[in-house]
């Protein structure tokens, strides 16, 4: 594949090694924006293998990363002015943490990549630095017998690497804790909202088609009119679950994400109904239920992009939340359908 971020080649005892720049180009930055908006997110890769950053030599540290280009870019842009070897594993375009969870950023891949890279002849030390979040995939104690290299876990964030390297490869407790600040949650929100808009569309269309069933003339006209009436409900549900829930996560009540989502949804629905009340109280009740359910559902889905939910916990909350969401959803739909019949076309 064409790799425009490779700016040259250095000749070494193991042959030519591509050199990458620590400066991100306009194309790199544009690529990041596109991925955040879900364009080509599934295939944003770097060729696995060994790269040189700056002008590394036999004593330069070796950093290991995933071949997701966003991870690779995040790593190099924090290493301006340094001379390092970068070993990129084949994680099939998935970031370090998720690939480690899958096992693609794993013990066997690291061992094979270390052996095949020729690094043992290139450097005179025997240490590789892994991102801490590779931990779920790599059994560090199995690497030395297989390769002769020892594994050190670096910090979680590439931004902490300079301090880690300058401090004699020691990570502070703060570097080892995976925070989830609002800035990061905000950064995720465009993608969350996009996925929720796409994911809720079939439900919205189904609603519109159902609403044409009431009395009065002109099925399509009613579908259109009621469909338009459903638009604020759809929008409020997405806003509550995919935007407000991630952003206000620590301050929403409860611990379960479905509950936090429902709370955010009720808040948005309350504002909506005060500003833009529907004609019939049944419609208002239905809107309240549907917005709460949609928001609860998309809030629950945010467990996947959060940094602290366990599988046991997600299963526990889903056992309660999913039947409730379905029940309240059916009630909401029923209210709105009933209103359609009562109001007529």
């Amino acid at each position: 594949m064409a790799q425009p971020f490779v700016v040259g080649v250095i000749e070494t005892v193991i042959g030519p090694v591509p050199v990458v720049s620590a400066q991100l180009s306009l194309a790199d930055r544009w690529g990041t924006v596109k991925v955040r908006l879900d364009f080509g997110r599934m295939d944003y890769q770097v060729e696995p293998g060994l790269y040189a950053l700056g002008a590394p030599g036999a004593r330069s540290p070796i950093l290991v990363t995933a071949n997701y280009k966003l991870s690779f870019d995040s790593l190099r842009r924090h290493l301006v002015g340094r001379d390092l070897w970068l070993l990129v594993l084949d994680t099939r375009g998935v970031n370090v943490w998720c690939a480690a969870g899958k096992g693609t950023f794993g013990t066997d891949e690291l061992a094979a990549r270390l052996r095949d890279s020729g690094l043992a002849r290139l450097v005179d030390h025997r240490q590789v630095i892994l991102p801490q979040l590779a931990g779920p995939g790599v059994a560090a104690h199995r690497i030395p017998p297989a390769t002769g290299f020892t594994v050190r876990y670096g910090p979680i964030l590439a931004a902490d690497l300079p301090a880690y390297l300058d401090g004699g490869c020691r990570a502070t407790p703060a570097m080892r804790y995976r925070h989830f600040p609002w800035q990061e949650r905000l950064l995720l929100s465009p993608l969350e909202v996009l996925l929720a808009v796409k994911g809720s569309l079939p439900l919205f269309l189904l609603l519109a088609l159902l609403f044409g069933l009431g009395p009065g003339d002109g099925y399509l006209r009613k579908v259109f009119a009621q469909g338009l009436a459903g638009l604020p409900v759809y929008g409020a549900g997405v806003l509550g679950g995919a935007f407000l829930t991630p952003l206000f996560l620590p301050w929403l009540p409860g611990r379960a994400f479905a509950l936090k989502g429902a709370a955010a949804g009720l808040l948005v629905a309350a504002v909506l109904l005060v500003v833009l009340p529907f004609r019939h109280w049944l419609q208002n009740a239905g809107a309240l239920a549907l917005v709460a359910v949609l928001s609860s559902y998309w809030g629950m889905k945010f467990t996947g992009a959060s940094t602290y939910t366990s599988l046991s916990g997600v299963k526990k909350e889903m056992r309660l939340a999913v039947p409730l969401q379905l029940a309240v959803g059916v009630i909401g739909l029923g209210c709105w359908l009933a209103a359609g019949f009562l109001l007529g076309g």
Binding site: Y68, N95, G101, K102, R255, T303, S310, L311, S312, E317
Partner: protein
């Protein structure tokens, strides 16, 4: 910095302190500061902080740590229930690095 905590009394993390050799690898890899060193051995500080990523168990050379590792992702649970292997699930990495979850082995998220 607000510290986020998920549901109480669900995490499956278990530590056999008798078997622990005190290497500290579990403490180093834990991204939630669940494990700490005490008297030369690992200790569970607060099990409710555990997200079951499995890094500690994977990196324990004497199998003193055990956890049912998995990814806490509702979409993955839904996909598994529906018998699907992939979806438009997001998977969050190191620093806002959301990527495809990528499921060649059908394990974990999506």
């Amino acid at each position: 910095m607000s510290r986020l905590t998920y549901l109480k009394d669900v995490a499956t993390l278990a530590l056999d302190r008798q078997r622990c050799v005190g290497c500290g690898m579990c403490v180093a890899v834990c991204p939630r500061a669940v494990l700490v060193m005490a008297d030369g051995r690992a200790n569970i500080q607060d099990r409710d902080d555990c997200m079951e990523c499995g890094a500690c168990a994977r990196n324990c050379p004497v199998a003193a740590v055990a956890v049912q590792a998995g990814v806490g992702c509702a979409e993955a649970v839904i996909n598994r229930m529906l018998g699907r292997k992939s979806g438009a699930c997001c998977c969050l990495g190191e620093d806002g690095e959301i990527s495809a979850a990528g499921s060649q082995d059908g394990r974990g998220c999506c």
